[in-house]
Amino acid sequence: MTAKAATAVGETQTPHWAPANLLGSLSLKQFLLSNDYRVFALKGILTSLVMLALAGLFALTFRAELAQPDIQFFGARVYMGLMTTHGMIMVFGFVIPIVLSVCYYMMPVLLKTERLLWIGAAQASYWTLVLAALLLIVGRPDFTWTVYVPMSLRVGGDFVWLGYWAIVLVGVSEFLAGAVLLRNVLAWKGRWMGMPLMGWAMLSEAGLLLVSTPLLALVGLYLFTDWIGATALFDPARGGSAKTFLWMFWFYGHPAVYLPLVPAIAIVYTLLPRFLGRPIWSYLSGVIAFLLLSVLSFIVFHHHFQPDVTTHTWVQRLFQILTLFIFIPSALHVFNWIATLWQEDIPASAREAIPFKFTVGAIFFLIVGGVTGFLNAQISVDTDFIHNTYWIPAHFHAMFLGFCGQMAAAGIYYLYPYFTGRMYNQALGNLHFWLWQFGIFAKVMLMYALGYAYFPRWVVDYLPLDEWVTAQLWLTVAAFVIGLGFILFIANLAIGARWGAPAPSDPWALAAAGRAEAIPAAAN
């Protein structure tokens, strides 16, 4: 593939799908400003990894406090500042942007546009998100990532408005991303049923982004205007309603959890055929699952605040049924992948490949996290040990870290030779992989156990109950294991870029596996 003529600042001349030291050839200005989609995607990836480091360090910090009962290092304000920033930066600054960035890298070739259309909007999306992160850090609010009112209007301090505006900016950034994705998907010129599954995924994602993010931006805006007293939409004390907030926020909040999931699923659909040398088992199943997920994700969100009624009427029952249904599209994806894996031999080149390992590891966690969705959806079970106990963070860490985070790693490892011209260190990669499997598994299982034992969320300290104390200590250990894996990941990326073995022209032995091109133009 040859590069197109430069369209804007710094478009590079290196070929797209031959391993080349793209990263090494950039000046700082080019890195920050280039409209070459690969550089733009790399900028997103590297920034998201910084966000992961930031929010991850915060996690290790509060994990150190939680390792034992009683207050050792800091009290509730510092803890909640850490927890709020951890949650927001992880969701908005890491897990969504990183998988989107990997998709930005792959989309133009898959969809045959050769560049990212509306790159200006994409750049605006990136920089808005960076600004949002900075506002959040400076504001360091303590109102949790779900910003429930009236508490979020009451938390003290003159800086809290920075937090509200960070939320608005995230909404703006994500909306722009949705517009960019839609524009690029609509540029596909072939038959719709011939479009790579990445395209269907990005169409689904665009729908999620465009419809849900205005609500997030509005919520942030109304939080600010309520706070300054210009409006009284959410504040019950002045005639507003916290329920209005709950309905508005979670209308965004449920699609929000699919924002990282859908691109991560797309990466699986893109990598598996390449490593296995065969197409996905059922293309149609993939398309249906993406569309079904998008539609359902807008009509299930009451389950997040399910216990807010005394009597459950047909409204809540409908939400329960739909929530139970939304487990099905994800199950279809998993079925599809297992069938793809099982139908023929897996080449040795795939088995050794770190990205392939991470893909399998990610699917493992999608199953672990996903089946609990079946329980979470049921009102009577949710009312027992699930709602607002550690069961919930267990579920979403399995999904966000176990699945989405690992697919991001898989995508990055896959793209690595293409943007550095070298291979990372295989041993380090393996170590990263195993540390994460054990660390994430221990973390997720311990959190489920704690949730089952009614350990509450958002607490800086806890009673020294037997069921809680040992689990919290081991949870801290697991977190540090994950942190160590992350350090090895970064080290691998950094060291390999300079000292890694030069990558062969077909780094993933795709030709040997039967795939002629890195990202072939053929269907899926």
């Binding site: 216990p307 459950h312 029952r317 487990f327």
Partner: protein, 205 residues
């Protein structure tokens, strides 16, 4: 121990189904990756899979709805701000009616006579207790692990739940489970299940 939602039996089945599905999925994944034998699934199998999942959905929905319906039938009247203290003594079978007033950061429990206690509520073993939950300021949660129930409520609302007090006397934990400000982690109370003899008649005068 009695459970408010009578969940023990049903819940075990649901957890069992979840575990079975999860283990089946993981086993299938591992087999697909490691088993030397290959298996080309026919498309009909996915249809069968979908039918199975839909059946599970129907089963789970019915079970869950059935459970909470039985539970909510135990609440009488509506929970709105009706101007009336809820829990009509003639039509319900509650042994005790308690108002739990949640605030930043603690609970005040009031019995039917309006006698208050802070961060502790005393009930007799096995009693059916109606809690009317009210919030002074922000959204609070109310979780009684021993009764396996959780709820949340905003200022102005009156949330009603009932529990069956544990049989074994002792102190049981009540905790707030919605982040409500800096004192959230400390917002705990005791559910005191006293000896059956002579207690539960209200305050001594």
């Amino acid at each position: 121990m009695q459970h408010a939602l009578g969940l023990m039996g049903n819940q075990a089945i649901m957890v069992g189904i979840m575990l079975a599905l999860g283990i089946a999925g993981i086993v299938a994944l591992f087999l697909a990756v490691f088993l030397p034998q290959r298996w080309h699934l026919v498309y009909r199998m996915e249809l069968g899979f979908v039918v199975l999942l839909v059946a599970l959905v129907v089963y789970a929905d019915n079970d869950s709805a059935g459970t909470y319906r039985v539970y909510e039938a135990g609440l009488s009247g509506e929970g709105a701000l009706s101007g009336k203290v809820v829990g009509d003594a003639e039509t319900d079978d509650f042994d005790r009616r308690i108002t739990a007033y949640a605030f930043q950061w603690g609970f005040v429990f009031l019995d039917e006579k309006g006698v208050a206690s802070r961060n502790a509520v005393k009930v007799a073993p096995g009693e059916k207790v109606l809690f009317t939950l009210a919030s002074n300021d922000v959204i609070h949660g109310f979780n009684v692990p021993a009764a396996r129930i959780t709820t949340e409520f905003e200022p102005g609302e009156m949330r009603r739940i009932w529990i069956r007090a544990p049989e074994k006397p002792g102190k049981y934990l009540i905790q707030c489970v919605n982040y409500c400000g800096l004192g959230h982690a400390q917002m705990k109370a005791w559910l005191v299940v006293g000896d059956a003899v002579g207690e539960g008649d209200g305050p001594h005068v």
